[in-house]
């Protein structure tokens, strides 16, 4: 390598003649490289943050959907207690209508997919009695499922949000319409107003 004397060193710095520009170029490229590395780190950090933010938003949306479906279910004309021409009873489910709805859905399963799915989406809704007996009736059931190639079903949901709401269960026919398995549990009581809760599970 060609060496430089002190006079040349004072003039050109430590670099030999003709190399200074190259070194300056390298310096500039180095700065730009570091700059883009920082931009890259910033982008990774930003997109990671976006991903977490998106997941949080999905959870919030699911919670909001659960709340909306709870509200809709509580005021669903198909199961809400009515009092003739007067205002409907709040937070009350008419068990005669629940039984009627079960019958109707059994006889017309396409109502589930053609109509009620547009209201509730992927959700399970059940009416649960706590007193006088412990029993559960399904009002709506549509879990998010997939099918394997061999035809078996599997659960295809990522998240599930369950909401519970205490309600009064009214039965003007005092349990007459239940099938024998349920009737036998009532042991002769003639309760009109029972105690229970709605369970609403939504899937995403």
């Amino acid at each position: 390598m060609k060496t430089i004397n002190k006079k040349q060193q004072r003039k050109w710095g430590i670099f030999p003649k003709g190399r200074r520009a190259q070194m300056q170029m390298m310096e500039t490229i180095g700065v730009i490289f570091i700059f883009f590395v920082l931009v890259l780190f910033g982008s990774i950090f930003y997109f990671k943050f976006q991903e977490i933010s998106f997941q949080n938003q999905q959870e919030e949306l699911l919670a909001q959907k659960a709340m909306d479906i709870t509200l809709v279910t509580l005021f669903l004309p198909e199961i809400q207690c009515s009092q003739g021409d007067a205002e409907s009873e709040d937070n009350c489910v008419d068990m005669t209508k629940v039984r009627a709805m079960n019958m109707m859905m059994e006889e017309n399963p396409r109502y589930l997919t053609d109509y009620y799915f547009n209201i509730f989406g992927y959700a399970n809704i059940s009416v649960n009695m706590v007193y006088p007996i412990n029993y559960s009736w399904t009002v709506y059931e549509f879990e998010k499922t997939g099918i394997y190639d061999n035809g078996t079903e599997y659960s295809a949901w990522d998240r599930k949000e369950a909401t519970y709401f205490v309600i009064t269960l009214r039965d003007g026919m005092q349990g007459y319409g239940y099938d024998s398995a349920v009737s036998s549990l009532f042991l002769g009581n003639e309760i009109i107003y029972s105690f229970g809760y709605l369970k609403i599970e939504v899937f995403s």
Binding site: N91, Y131, Y164, L187, N189, S194, F195
Partner: protein, 179 residues
């Protein structure tokens, strides 16, 4: 060379300051997040609906161990009224159910079961209280406390469920729910 070092140090400092500022901003975002609206709504609505359901529930009252035909008595309209009478005037009350000393015992046991099977299962603390207003002083008719709700500041109320009973007075019932 000395100039260059100074510049390099300045750049380094600036980068650190920017990263610290960004970090603080993100921390602030999460720290200042409000409680999701859903939790608050569900608790308020839940307190009211639970209380309403409890008050309307009809409880079975057997007159003997072998009886197959129980009476169905409403919590608010029948049992609570009788219980207020029992507490106010220290009597045995008009309602007698097998297995219970008075309507108050029946109420306390059954309402506890109802609330435990619902609110308790969902890990919510609660306080059910029924008082009769005698003059200016309230007299406790019934109190069911799961623990921790009496002193909690974050609690939701069902609102008062009042009934007026002749010769007894105004009975006010309320349910508090807290997390």
């Amino acid at each position: 060379m000395a100039n260059r070092r100074g510049q390099t140090e300045m750049i380094g400092l600036v980068v650190i300051v920017i990263m610290l500022t960004l970090g603080m901003l993100f921390l602030a975002k999460f720290a200042l997040q409000e409680e999701p609206a859903k939790k608050i709504f569900t608790r308020k609505g839940l307190a009211y609906s639970t209380m309403s359901a409890v008050m309307k529930t009809e409880l079975e009252c057997y007159d003997s161990a072998t009886s197959n035909d129980p009476d169905e008595l409403k919590v608010q309209a029948d049992l609570l009224e009788d219980c207020a009478d029992v507490v106010r005037f220290n009597t045995a009350g008009d309602i007698s159910c097998y297995g219970y000393d008075s309507s108050c015992d029946l109420l306390e046991e059954e309402i506890s079961i109802l609330l435990n099977a619902t609110l308790g299962e969902w890990h919510k603390e609660y306080l059910f209280s029924a008082e009769v207003l005698v003059g200016t002083e309230p007299l406790t008719v019934l109190e069911i406390d799961s623990g921790g709700c009496a002193t909690s500041t974050e609690r939701d109320s069902s609102g008062l469920f009042p009934i007026y009973v002749t010769n007894v007075g105004l009975i006010e019932s309320v349910l508090y729910i807290c997390e």
